[in-house]
Symmetry: none
Subunit: 563 residues, 2 copies
Amino acid sequence: MTVLRQFARPPGKRRNKTRSISFGMNMSDKRVYLYDSTLRDGQQTQGVDFSAADKTAIAKALDELSIDYIEGGWPGANPTDDAFFANPPKLKNSKLTAFGMTRRAGRSASNDPGLTTLAQSAPIVCMVGKSWDFQVTEALGIELSENLAMISESIAHLKSQVSEVMFDAEHFFDGYKANRDYALAAIKAAYEAGARWVVLCDTNGGTLPDEIFDIVTDVCTHVPGGNVGIHCHNDTENAVANSLAAVRAGVRQVQGTLNGLGERCGNANLISIIPTLMLKMGYDVGISHEQLTHLRRISHILDERLNREPTRQAAYVGDSAFAHKGGLHVSAVEKNPACYEHIEPELVGNQRHILVSDQAGRSNILARFREIGVEVDPKSDAVGKLVEAVKQREFDGYAYDGAEASFELLARKALGELDRYFRVTSFRVIDERRWVDEQDEQVITMSEATVKVVVGDGQFMSVAEGNGPVNALDAALRKVLLTVPEYVEAVQQIELIDYKVRIITRGDGTRAVTRVMIESRDAEGNSWSTVGVSTNIIEASYNALRDSITYKLFKSGVRSQHA
Amino acid sequence: MTVLRQFARPPGKRRNKTRSISFGMNMSDKRVYLYDSTLRDGQQTQGVDFSAADKTAIAKALDELSIDYIEGGWPGANPTDDAFFANPPKLKNSKLTAFGMTRRAGRSASNDPGLTTLAQSAPIVCMVGKSWDFQVTEALGIELSENLAMISESIAHLKSQVSEVMFDAEHFFDGYKANRDYALAAIKAAYEAGARWVVLCDTNGGTLPDEIFDIVTDVCTHVPGGNVGIHCHNDTENAVANSLAAVRAGVRQVQGTLNGLGERCGNANLISIIPTLMLKMGYDVGISHEQLTHLRRISHILDERLNREPTRQAAYVGDSAFAHKGGLHVSAVEKNPACYEHIEPELVGNQRHILVSDQAGRSNILARFREIGVEVDPKSDAVGKLVEAVKQREFDGYAYDGAEASFELLARKALGELDRYFRVTSFRVIDERRWVDEQDEQVITMSEATVKVVVGDGQFMSVAEGNGPVNALDAALRKVLLTVPEYVEAVQQIELIDYKVRIITRGDGTRAVTRVMIESRDAEGNSWSTVGVSTNIIEASYNALRDSITYKLFKSGVRSQHA
């Protein structure tokens, strides 16, 4: 038994830094190379369609993280990839790779247009080919020996034209199980023809970690592990474990994508693999500890490009990855974070979140105050009231888990630190639909909102239309606030980027309560979330909206014109 | 080398059924027990707040899948869990378990109110306790021997009161690494006191699969594997692999949650573990192959309860799990699915999706018609129009997966089988709030709706108030329909039991669309779901409402008074 890993800590920080590892194998070479396929295999994802500009932006992010190889795409396969390789991004740390396939059957390598395009596209080339006998005879319909010739001739030919050549052995694990000797012959053909890397692909994603370990162990007795790579898919939710198992068995290149993007269930997620290799398994992946602190941001850059909400539960980098909800847990976390955190969140650019919830005890709520920078004396009277206020609100259906801004406003208001910026004395929303023909095809619609607002000594009234009642109400309220000179700069920056509605039925048979969550953003890229609750969706939306505007005004240091 | 698994196929289907497995260990006992913690650990998820009704619905779904143990919650910890255990669901296949902790320090087991509550809550009890010496001395601040006494006395005491007792060894893997002897002593204390199961918890989720395998192998030389369970978290994206590694090392109980719900990065995902254990590793988990075909639906039931979009890329059950994007792959898949599919999708209730393929769409839609009992001739003209209509609606943001009633209405309308029962020519909703005091404590609210409706030769107009705009609109519309003698009986039965709103953003930066789903019920206990989509939430709600009423009238065989 040789399990001696400690909790991962940043270099030079407190606590024991020993990270002894013993795998019972030769670990003299601790350098593992990373190969990112976000721009090629990631492009196969349902609903993903990168532009050349997207590709350039993502390549730059990968370069910043110092990923060894960035696979840019398949030149000749589509106009986007052609445009990208015609004007490739300048990279500081990473090397650009072009993907393609071995020469066609019955053609010489030097006379294959695909190989010619590849050679002209990038200094490093990765070619895919068959290693499963069944695929050779059935899908390609050629002799097994011709396939081996295609592999070795293509590798040898490109090896003379570019600086580095790799071979992706498609369906390697299925091929190995069906005909071990042929699968090994295919990768040996590539290796012996000069391939820097021979990459074993679990193309349909069905292989399990123990199988990967056993097969890779065998492979590494035929091709040195320092020249073998692994390419996994997540069809059984084991892509990360499969990649790690292959590294333990000897491979020294790992292929994957940012956030596990990829066809079907995705590729192996480099965002999870990188910190595990570095912090838990002691490998050098060419990324410094300083660069590792950008991991969360790099993960979010991809989500931005895809216009997707980042996954809260993502390992290492998700908003929830270091979030603590249970009351008992929280006091334990504060005593010693290692109890409920497997690494220090800052190592990957993440941070601890103490959640407020029904389950939460007093220590939860106090910790949460400290996190948002609200200092309170735990013994003061105000705290007890505040805790009660939070619990009452949560009982009413408020959820502050995802609405930090509303929570901060509640706390600051209770502590007397928050001025009121405006007071809405009334609003009215009118929503009308009128169908003018028998077939209900022509409809006249109108959503109009009126608000009356007091700001300082002034009384204002405004009216606005919108594409729905909430949109109209938002427009009317802004119309008033934009007439207050002190507020203009802050208010005009606020952009609503997400709006979520949930109906909560508390207990059985009671009337439904609507909870609205709004996410807002300002011109500097800050974002914040607010929550509103009511039996009436318009009132719930108004509450969240009011908090969003108030929060921005407060954070901008605007002086209230109201009080 | 002993990797001989074949692609998993349904029993009795074509192709080689051999699924030889050799792990180099005793595999005589192939029964693995499943323990679901969705209702307890899943409740710890950020943003998740189950009602007692949610818990009952999820427990029934788990029961349908035949999960061995369903952990219902922690009685005494919060009012929801108390309400759930006070009125537990009737289960056909599964056993309900209550969670709690071992007795407090310095108290006798028989005098511990927590244990008393547990004993009264369920016939099976799972208690958590410490196995990490550091946690005992630091977090609890007690002697190491007192902790062992707390474990054995609590187990022995409850063993005499309920039918089955389990012990969850919190932080077991960290404890083992810090002080192997003490960690083993803790679980042996539980086992020897009569615990049916001793469950090893990787509480902070930081342990890797090879460590799990090594430690569990050692544990099973002290406590029989047939009495050992595993409880993993996904903080390194290895929770599934960790659970499988523990099974390979000998444990015979796996704890997890539906869809990997859970604190931080989630718990081990039973939805991924179940098919892998059954189809790839040859274990019996107490689930029949027929029940396994409900896996996808059970996964979606949880998402529905959480008002979440199901994860497209989810292993086995995601919409994309067997989706193939154009070109080469598709023809290869059609020649031989095993090339790009690791199992047959139907085994888990999923299906192959060939993207950008009219053919697939058409047969898919026809299959759905058959499912709801609408017989159509595939060659008729109407079908082409119907397929186009469905595709257009889905492009607009409609989702018919959870709204069978709206889907049936669409089909019957296109086939000319549906009369119109009423025609709303216009509606107007006015929603007003007026705050009468400076503190915003007194508020006058008004939600009023006016509708104009044509039924047969008659024109009707009515006005009603509600607790919100949709409620008012519903009331006004019913007021009219209840004046039509032929409609009264059906309409007065309709009860709206659930109302869900989701905001969908289509493409990049385009305007948000609101999708409303309404679930209705009648006096005979039938329930049906309808959907409405619009940029305006009130219009979306109206569409769903109109479908709900129309569906009930149609199903009741009421003759239309309109046409």
